[in-house]
Symmetry: C2
Subunit: 342 residues, 2 copies
């Protein structure tokens, strides 16, 4: 078998975790042919226990076409007694994929998983924002001290490559400011409101379509945007902000008058996360802002996202798009894995 083989442990088996597991299988031959990489999933954990896939149980072939979208079938057998700690210590370190639910106040349970993985010599790729919001510097230092990668594209707008562009494509430039539409749910609701819907109508519609969660507060009150803003600016501008340092406004109090005024001026209301340097300080805020047609994020509608970097040497570079579904989130995890091991 040619190619570089490495172990993968997945923690968290919700929408994104399942999509990732499925994508690893679907892309198996492609990864070997294009990148010479053979990721081997060795264990999967969810709250009810762990499973050892050996990729698929012998004799099972799902007969999926590449790109086919199905709910991942129940081919894993869960063992309540299987421990993450044991697996991380017993097999050769590779990469831990952290996909448990995000808690931006405590960081748990992801924080414990990531610390444990780094301490056992595993690289970490996380879809979970919580641990990094709570302890960005501590986790990055811990990874750096051991020469390990800690990558989080998926937690920082997923398929929209906010971090890659900021850290790699703009290397050598100083980022003077950045602005982003970083949350697809609120952008979808605001797009409908710009078209005439009320907040309540637009929210109900988004919930009915699965775009907004039953409890939408993290999104609509701006905290999801703030969390992503914190991660992105920490990575690309070297900030060390806490959530409380960011002035956060949501979309729940946008008045019809403000909407009418923006519309009358040909502007579009967006929930923007922004950071700029003022003297030696970084000022960060999340607020509803009216963009005019000439703004590079003006046309970012619906569940799309976008980010715009202003630099000293390259001018303004803007990235928009990237799907917001679990498959695209899984693809962002896979991208980070490839960029660690290629």
């Amino acid at each position: 078998m040619t190619g570089k083989t490495f172990n993968v442990v997945l923690v968290g088996y919700g929408h994104v975790g399942k999509a990732f597991y499925h994508l690893l299988r679907e892309k198996r031959d492609f990864l070997a042919a294009r990148y010479g990489l053979r990721p081997e999933p060795r264990a999967v954990f969810r709250s009810s226990g762990g499973a050892v896939p050996g990729f698929l149980p012998p004799g099972k072939d799902l007969g999926l076409e590449p790109g086919q979208r199905v709910n991942f079938p129940e081919v894993l057998t869960w063992h309540p007694e299987l421990r993450l700690k044991t697996v991380l210590e017993d097999i050769e370190p590779g990469v831990l994929i952290e996909c448990t639910p995000s808690n931006i106040r405590t960081g748990e349970p992801g924080l414990t998983h990531i610390r444990r993985a780094l301490d056992s010599g595993w690289h970490v790729v996380t879809a979970n924002k919580g641990p990094l919001v709570v302890d960005f510097k501590g986790l990055k230092d811990r990874a750096a001290q051991s020469g390990l990668a800690l990558m989080f594209s998926c937690a920082a707008a997923a398929a929209l490559p906010t971090l890659d562009v900021g850290m790699h494509s703009l290397a050598g430039a100083e980022i003077l400011s950045l602005e982003g539409i970083l949350n697809g749910t609120t952008n979808h609701i605001l797009t409908r409101m710009n078209q005439g819907a009320s907040y309540a109508e637009a929210l109900r519609e988004a919930q009915a379509r699965g775009i907004a969660e039953p409890d939408p507060s993290l999104d609509v009150e701006g905290w999801d945007t703030a969390a992503k803003l914190l991660l992105i600016t920490a990575a690309v501008m070297g900030t060390n902000l806490a959530l409380k340092d960011i002035k956060v406004e949501g979309i729940t109090n946008v008045s019809p008058e403000v909407l009418d005024e923006a519309g009358g001026q040909g502007r579009s209301l967006k929930l923007l996360g922004r950071v700029r340097r003022e003297g030696g300080e970084f000022k960060a805020e999340v607020s509803v802002t009216a963009l005019d047609r000439s703004h590079p994020l003006f046309g970012v509608d619906g569940t799309d996202k976008g980010i715009s970097y202003s630099t000293d040497t390259m001018g303004t570079v803007t990235i928009t798009g990237g799907n917001s579904d679990p498959r695209a989130a899984a693809a962002a995890l896979l991208k980070d894995i490839i960029n660690i091991f290629r």
Copy 2:
């Protein structure tokens, strides 16, 4: 002296070469502090000879502020007898920066410079499209065999990170198609034509402002776009196209009727470079295309550029902006250097 020191040889001392040389000086402390890198310019070549800078002649201090834009002063002494070959063989290999004028038919003189550098163990970063258009595969193979980098962001739309996003941010995804506005000169002319100017007026205006060259044929006939399209698709889709494989249309024959029709439909005419897979084949073309408002490149006006990738897993990812001036081109060269040595 802390940090990683490496030798830099610059070939070509026109607008971009000078801007690069200036930028290296301006960014010297920043590169050391942020990336631990200390590039040492050891020789500069232009058609009239070579110069050995020792960065600046002793006793000279230009007193520039960071970001200050000046023509680089004449501080180099040119020696007609200094040979590139001698320098490449005599000092420890680092990185050659190729900034001579682009000839997309012969690739020379850059082709010879790049081959010589790779054969002497030097990494290469090129602003010059010509050598890669003529012999992409040969040069990439030659670099790969010696474990050397051959980077060309500057030749592939410069500050717009077409290659980084295609190769790094979309790793693991299959790029199904791409579309780009890759030439700022023609986009500026078309933007003015969309606003009502005739082709002749818009061209004269662009020439007066230094946006179009006195002989604008490479730009307006679509060949510059085709050359960039060739490089980008070779890098990100693994194509091996020659210029003759690309169907190329320029902007010289856009009729008032076509402009009126597009304008009446709320569309905007753009010179698009496009590649898509059809079966196992790649179809590439450069043509004037009417984009409607929902197209991600619709708002890319004036000298701005943009590129949009459609993928199997991440949806469509679009990048727009990035300055088109020599300083931004120099910043794209510097970015590649950092990403080689960091």
